[in-house]
């Protein structure tokens, strides 16, 4: 047990945290059988240590957490991960589920709360969905980072003009506001569009809003 599947950075990893070795073994075997890389942890502390030490890609994968474990419960582990800014989706699996625990877990952003006994397919579906959500979040984040890098590449003047464009001002108005000729504004504007790699005003406004909404 405690098998650590060797992983390339590109493939997502399912982190399985459960104090029951039999569960770890069977889940690991199940995930191996469908080709999902996985790492097993025999308690929450081992997982949290691995997370903090960045022994794996913190952004790519999902977590399957048992609720009732000695020392650090699954819920406590979720709270600690939240404080650490963890963005990996969490799926709880428990043999002792009650409504208040389930509600608490879901309020803190758990994706699923599965009760034992469960069908294997139910777990697989939940994990696949969690990985999909994680993948989409990653893509969105990457896009935002790209936009922010592009924004950082603008000169002060270009940033000024970008802000004016996004605020809906016409070139003529921007020219008067900034004491420039309209021709100069047009040139800056073309540079902004080039650097931001957009072809239309609508596209420009969209990428800027997308990047600022979530940053």
């Amino acid at each position: 047990m405690n098998r650590t599947t060797q992983h390339e950075s590109s493939s997502p990893i399912v982190h399985v945290v459960d104090d029951d070795e039999a569960v770890l073994d069977s889940v690991s075997m199940l995930l191996d059988s469908i080709g999902l890389s996985n790492i097993c942890y025999k308690n929450a502390q081992v997982f949290l240590d691995a997370y903090v030490e960045e022994s794996f890609d913190k952004h790519n994968g999902c977590i399957m957490l048992d609720i009732r474990m000695p020392l650090i419960s699954g819920i406590e582990c979720q709270h600690r991960l939240e404080k650490l800014g963890c963005c990996l989706p969490i799926i709880f699996v428990t043999g002792h589920g009650d409504v208040p625990t389930a509600v608490e877990a879901m309020k803190h952003g758990a994706m699923e709360f599965i009760q034992k006994p469960f069908r294997e397919q139910q777990l697989i579906d939940a994990l696949q969905k969690a990985l999909q959500v994680n993948f989409k979040n990653q893509q969105r984040l990457e896009k935002i980072q790209q936009t922010q890098a592009k924004l950082a590449s603008l000169t002060n003047r270009e940033t000024q003009i970008l802000e004016a464009i996004v605020a809906g001002k016409a070139n003529k108005v921007i020219a008067i506001d900034l004491h420039l000729s309209q021709r100069t504004v047009e040139i800056h504007r073309a540079h902004v569009m080039d650097k931001m790699e957009v072809r239309s005003l609508a596209e420009l406004v969209k990428v800027v809003i997308d990047a600022s909404a979530t940053s």
Binding site: A102, K107, E112, F113
Partner: protein, 125 residues
């Protein structure tokens, strides 16, 4: 008109006695309350009006409370919803929270706790 400005809370539950006492407590807190005995009844009457909060029981005849919540979400409406449950079913709780319920409360509950949750919801929106 002062009644026009009072926040509206909708209750959807076929437990009439509970609804009577709960709506009395909510009214005492200065809220306007309207009670519906089924999801269909609610949908046919009030869906497109302004509202502050919906309180709905999971176990209803025909369309259940969580289906109602999903239906409201699908219409693109944002109606903060508290789901009540007389069955204490964990998978109902999970379904309700996945459907973006604000809270999921098992019956019997302390009415004042629920009222506090409702007032919190209204203050936030």
């Amino acid at each position: 008109m002062s009644t026009f400005e009072k926040p509206i809370v909708y209750l959807v539950d076929d437990d009439q006695r509970l609804m009577e006492s709960l709506s009395a407590v909510l009214r005492l807190s200065g809220l306007t309350v309207e009670v519906f005995e089924s999801a269909e009844h609610f949908l046919n009457n009030k869906l497109r009006t302004r509202a502050s909060c919906l309180i709905v029981e999971v176990n209803l005849p025909n369309m259940d409370g969580i289906e109602l919540l999903k239906h409201i979400n699908n219409l693109g409406l944002r109606l903060p919803t508290i789901v009540l449950s007389s069955s204490g079913n964990v998978s109902d709780a999970v379904r309700a929270m996945q459907a973006k319920a604000i809270d999921f409360i098992e019956k019997p509950f302390i009415e004042n706790t629920l009222v506090k949750t409702v007032l919190d919801v209204i203050e936030r929106t």
